[in-house]
């Protein structure tokens, strides 16, 4: 009886999907990013360029300075010494939306503020991302029964990552940012411009 031999060298170990925040973050370094490009299907060159550009994008997300309410204070706390958003290269808060890539919707979006938030989002240059922070921005939260509060910011602008909390503590915030980095990593070049679809 012939025994079936299995060539163990040909079996690729299944790449473990990163789960904890630390694994996700380690997975988004420049070297890791370029290595991961090999595993992507399609043309090696283009997917490498994709990965390289994505690496640039998620490594330098510049947020726009727009605090709305309570969560804006935690936004300041994230930037400050103890948590230090600058480690991700994100301390360059741009006051002008033209130069920003990322919008934190940090706080209650009232009916009166909603068109301004929408306008601010539209003023930002592509590619752009939105993180909705806190219960108020996610769903209306504490003020869901109020007459003057919008029930979730995703009613007016597309949201990439939701961070629950009221307000979320800075680590939760940083975790939200790591989630966004994960998301950008998996995007192809031009996905934000609709070229790939």
């Amino acid at each position: 009886m012939d025994s079936v031999t299995i060539d163990t060298t040909k079996i690729k170990p299944a790449k473990k999907k990163p789960e904890t925040a630390l694994e996700k973050l380690n997975d988004t370094g420049l070297i890791n990013t370029l290595l991961a490009a090999r595993e992507r299907e399609g043309m090696i060159l283009f997917s490498t360029v994709d990965q390289f550009i994505n690496w640039g994008r998620f490594s330098s997300l510049w947020p726009v300075t727009s605090g709305l309410a309570c969560c804006a204070i935690e936004m300041m706390a994230v930037t400050m010494a103890h948590h230090d958003l600058a480690r991700f290269g994100m301390e360059a808060f741009r006051a002008s939306p033209r130069q920003a890539d990322l919008m934190f919707v940090a706080g209650t979006v009232t009916k009166r503020m909603a068109p301004r938030v929408k306008q601010l989002y539209e003023m930002m240059a592509e590619p752009k991302w939105v993180i909705s922070i806190g219960s108020c921005a996610n769903t209306g939260g504490p003020y869901i029964e109020s007459y003057s509060v919008l029930k979730g910011v995703d009613n007016i602008i597309p949201v990439d990552v939701y961070v629950p909390g009221c307000p979320p503590r800075p680590e939760a915030w940083l975790y939200g940012i790591i989630q966004l980095r994960e998301k950008i990593k998996s995007q192809g070049y031009g996905a934000k411009w609709g070229l790939n679809k």
Binding site: R112, A114, P158
Partner: protein
């Protein structure tokens, strides 16, 4: 003798009754006399107007003025009772500058008109908002949306189609 009774002695025609609001002297003033009474109160040394607010009691409105005197360290509360149909009362913005905004806020949220106010427009809600939210009969069901006009002014409508995103 507390400040409310002092006021009653000085202006017996204006004060309907006096009492206490927990620990603060309270005087109920006739609606027409509020401006005069306020002037008198200021003369009595009540230099700080803490708060103006209106309360909807379904059959009547009450407007409440809270005063504090930094010199005498005393409190005084004035109350005016208004009818429910067309509540209006004289403005005291000429005496206390802070009353300007407090009255605008009361107008905005409770819907009490202050005659003689220099600039009685809405302060917290946008112009054109339908109804006064702190009234008991305010319609909480219909949602009102705000959009922006050409010059950045607010336009209120119940139709949010150009603001809301289709999902």
């Amino acid at each position: 003798m507390n400040a409310a009774e002092e006021l009653k002695q000085a202006m017996p025609a204006a004060v309907v009754s006096t009492g206490m609001l927990i620990d603060k002297p309270l005087a109920i003033i006739k609606k027409e006399e509020i401006l005069k009474a306020a002037g008198k109160v200021k003369e009595m040394g009540f230099d700080n107007l803490s708060v103006i607010t209106g309360i909807d009691y379904r059959d009547r409105f009450e407007v409440i003025y809270n005063f504090f005197s930094y010199k005498k360290k005393e409190n005084l509360v004035l109350k005016v009772v208004l009818d429910h149909e067309a509540p209006s009362v004289d403005s005291v913005a000429s005496i206390w500058k802070v009353a300007d905004w407090l009255e605008r806020e009361t107008y905005d949220l409770v819907g009490i008109k202050f005659t003689g106010h220099p600039n009685l427009v809405r302060i917290l809600l946008p112009d054109g908002w339908n109804g006064h939210p702190l009234r008991k009969d305010y319609d909480m069901e219909t949602e009102q949306f705000v959009t922006m006009g050409e010059d950045g002014e607010d336009i209120v409508s119940t139709d949010g189609s150009n603001l809301l995103r289709r999902r």
